[in-house]
Amino acid sequence: MGVKGKIYGINGPVISIKGNLGYKMNEMVCVGGRRLVGEVIGLSREETTIQVYEETSGLRPGETVEGMGNAISVTLAPGILKNIFDGIERPLEVIAARNGAFIPTGAQADALDKERLWQTHITVQSGDFVTEGSVIAEVPETKSIVHKVLLAPGMSGEVVRTREDGEYTIEQELVVIRTKEGEERSLSMTQKWPIRIPRPVAKRFPADRPLVTGQRILDTLFPIAKGGTAALPGGFGTGKTMTQHQLAKWCDADIIIYIGCGERGNEMTNVLEEFGELVDPKSGNLLMDRTALIANTSNMPVAAREASIYTGITLAEYYRDMGYHVAIMADSTSRWAEALRELSGRLEEMPAEEGFPAYLASRLSAFYERAGYVQNLNGTEGSVTIIGAVSPQGGDFSEPVTQNTKRFARCFLALDKALAYARHYPAINWLTSYSEYMGDLAAWYGEHVGSSFVYCRNQILNILTTENRLNEIVKLIGSDVLPDDQKLVLEIARVIRLGFLQQNAFHAEDTFVPMEKQLKMMEVILYLYDRCKALIDLSMPMALLRESDVFEKIISIKYDVANQELDRFEEYHTMIDAFYQHLIATEG
């Protein structure tokens, strides 16, 4: 077995051992009689430093610390989906069944059920040559997802013998291969992978297709690419969690990994309940069938919180290797950064900005770089998209976590307090948000949605920017003195804000809107703008235009026109024409 040492010092989640006994960096260790899980995080000749992923109350100096020989890893096999884990992949449902409502220190449980039998279809025959990433078996893991059992990276050889199709546990031998060196290796469904090391890929592709979310402000104004990275910063109460829930429910990824990192327990319960009831519109199965949850709530041990986002992304990469598109919701990366700060403080490291350790930026970038649209080792394509919520201190975006995240995430969705106060949801500020993906995705939009899409989108953004400039003037002198064409811009901007940007997550039709309808909505709004402008050019006063209810009608398109009744948009164009003709006839 591994190296054994004795505890010398204890300070919160950090323990130290005198001397250098030969532990490896990042090695997993079992601490004390209750075998708490820990990780080696510092080595010197005098001292070994270990962070413990559980509450250290009750530990004594002199208790044994046993090295497990390998880095802290997750178990990868069927049974991950539809499950809920803590930050170091302990299954919370199993722990609940064993230990009741509260999680005791040192709760032991296998990450995945080793007893359960899975219906397995072996996809290789003896004589086949398999390499890393090859699919050797398929298991229907849930109703929605077929789990592909892959050859672990670094392995290859000739299949010597296989089992029949049938029911197997995750540890039973399925296939035996003979490697180049002539060794026979027995393969089961289970793999282990160290959480801090990215799983290898064949190559990376540019991000050229969007993650369709059905949320208008995202899809149209600030799209996220599949395999892209997005940051979602906002003070408390601005709707970070709500936006993440919406994305998890509606985005067109095959698999969702939802990481509740240092957040509220009730929120995780809500996700668990809601996803267990909601039906996935694409497959007709439950959302939970394609979701795995990682819940390390704020009162669970802080070191496990630090590990939780790595656990999450490793699970995501594993499903990506099978050829799936995976989206990660990390709520919230600030809590993770704070865990780093807390541990760094306990290690008495020299603090950089705001007490955060100086390596905050490099850790963040290493995390976000694990996203990507890739060709897997087995030739299939898959992607990992990261959407990370950021909870800036005091809602101030100039703090280190937001600023560093901004450097590495290419889509920045700034949530705004003022919008949230006015209950304008999603409270994404269209002036401070941006997406670097728009250029890369323009071709896709042109091909799949409509050639006018990018033009319309830019027009809409233009009107909103103009509105902002005009509002500066209005703030000083009131809106009455503006010329009519500018009043029109304000009115159309209002239509865009209320009728397009605002989206009601609790409304059956409005909660998800297909791309085609988004385009049609933009076209109607711009057509209205165009016609009104023509009227204003004929020196009709804005007050007259406002008497009509056409603006309100356009605003409520989002509720009135169902997602599949796209032909009804003709009616609105006709209505606008009628409105135009009527004014020309009566006033012109």
């Binding site: 010092g9 700060r341 403080g345």
Partner: protein, 474 residues
């Protein structure tokens, strides 16, 4: 018989270092026997007992945080005894009706509390799988809360206040009216109601005010009061909320009671943490608070909730005074990220003589959306709330504009908004200290105010609901 260690190596405020200790464990409780000073090495006759907790161990050296004052202690006159247990409190239902100090020792002169079980005050994290998502609302009879930031049973909803604002009155009114309301909570009438009150570093008058209020509304036999006043030891303050919440969890989940926990003042708690952390020589993060402030606060707030299979619940109303009324200060900021919303009191409203001075715009109840509507309150509740928020936000813009160009120059619609704003503050937010409104009354006031505005302006209300509740006549 446990070993006693004679003498100390260091005393620094409430922190004590003892060397040569064997077999101590992290977080263990130690007892000190303190004799009269200068015994010159002779055996000490213990005259006082004090408690402390081991907060750091390095080999045979233990750093101990003393919960009481370290006055009278010297390096020579103190015996240290390891108790072999973490901090525990003895509990039974008899704790209701009692007044205790910050460590859970009775100070009302009625003798010790009968003990059925001992519980570790640190608690354990609740497994998200076994939580029941809170859905039943608690009627507080206060429009600003019931209507716009509905309190849900099992929620943690803090009051963000400032010095000199009536947060105590508001908390007291919530306690009175929530405990009286038979219809508080839509579905179940079972489950007894009780209050756990924890005072951390509050003034004597404040503690006395709550005590009197509990007596006046006849609930004092259902209250457990833990008092750590502002002149009580700082280290004790760090334990007080844990003791109180352990009591609450015991009553809720083992005795099936609905517990309302009032924690006041969380700012003093955080200040105490900073003080102790600084004495330990830890590296400070924001504004000198230790890096683990978030985790520590979370370990308190997260102890609210409902467990599947238990009829009880723990609802928390922590009160905190924002230093310099600054909501971005680390204490309210971190609290807001953990709790399920917040009720923000505002000085400007208080100065306008509006009670309760709740600024509804930054106030929020995250659990509200699932606990209101046709099944719980009324179908139009969410829409009315959204509309009031949205319209009141617009009032702010109109007021800004009026302060620049003068009220007379405003457009007619902006003038309407000004009128709405004043009426909203006076009639909806403002109410009597003893006024207990039903949900119907609250919503009726809401609709009445919305009638000040033209119907077209109500863009947050579903057309059907608007048709049903809009009265053209008024």
């Amino acid at each position: 018989m446990a070993i006693e260690y004679l003498g100390l190596s260091e005393i620094n405020g409430p922190m004590i270092v003892v060397e040569g200790v064997e077999g101590a464990f992290y977080d263990e409780i130690v007892e000190f026997g303190v004799g009269s000073a200068y015994t010159g090495g002779a055996p000490v006759e213990a005259q006082q007992k004090k408690l402390g907790r081991i907060v750091e161990i390095a080999g045979d050296k233990a750093v101990i945080q003393v919960f009481e004052s370290t006055a009278d202690m010297s390096l020579l006159n103190t015996r240290t005894r390891l108790t072999g247990r973490p901090m525990e409190i003895g509990l039974s239902e008899d704790i209701l009706g009692r007044t205790l100090n910050g460590l859970g020792k009775p100070i009302d002169g009625l003798g010790p509390v009968r003990t059925e079980v001992f519980r570790d005050v640190n608690g354990q994290p609740m497994n998200p799988c076994t939580r029941e998502y809170p859905r039943n609302y608690i009627r507080t009879g206060i429009s600003a809360i019931d209507g716009l930031t509905t309190l849900i049973r099992g929620q943690k909803l803090p009051i963000f206040s400032g010095n000199g604002l009536p947060h105590d009155e508001l908390a007291a009114q919530i306690v009175e009216q929530a405990s009286l309301g038979e219809d508080a909570g839509a579905a179940d009438g079972e489950g007894e109601f009780a209050i756990v009150f924890a005072a951390m570093g509050v003034k004597y008058d404040v503690a006395e005010y709550f005590k009197r209020t509990f007596e006046e509304c006849g609930v004092s036999s259902h209250v457990a009061m833990f008092l750590n006043l502002s002149n009580d030891p700082v280290a004790e303050r760090l334990i007080t909320p844990k003791v109180a919440l352990t009591t609450a969890e015991y009553l809720a989940f083992e005795k099936n009671m609905h517990i309302l926990v009032i924690l006041t003042d969380m700012t003093s708690f955080a200040e105490a943490m900073r003080e102790v952390s600084s004495l330990k020589g830890e590296i400070p993060s924001r504004k000198g608070y230790p890096g683990y402030l978030y985790s520590e606060l979370a370990c308190l707030y997260e102890r609210a909730g409902i467990v599947k299979g238990s009829e009880g619940s723990v609802t928390q109303i922590p009160i905190l005074t924002m230093p310099n009324d600054d909501i971005t200060h680390p204490i309210p900021d971190l609290t807001g990220y953990i709790t399920e919303g917040q009720i923000v009191l505002e000085r400007a409203l208080h100065q306008k003589n509006i009670y309760p001075p709740v600024n509804v715009l930054p106030s929020l109840s995250r659990l509200m959306k699932d606990g209101i509507g046709a099944k719980y309150t009324r179908e139009d509740h969410q829409d009315v709330a959204n509309q009031l928020f949205s319209s009141y936000a617009r009032v702010g813009e109109a007021r800004d504009l009026a302060s620049v160009i003068g009220e007379d120059e405003l457009s007619p619609i902006d003038k309407k908004y000004l009128e709405f704003g004043t009426a909203f503050e006076q009639k909806f937010v403002g109410q009597g200290r003893n006024e207990n409104r039903t949900i119907e009354e609250t919503l009726a006031v809401g609709w009445e105010l919305l009638h000040i505005l033209p119907k077209e302006e109500l863009d947050r209300i579903d057309t059907k609901i608007l048709e049903k509740y809009w009265d053209d006549a008024s």
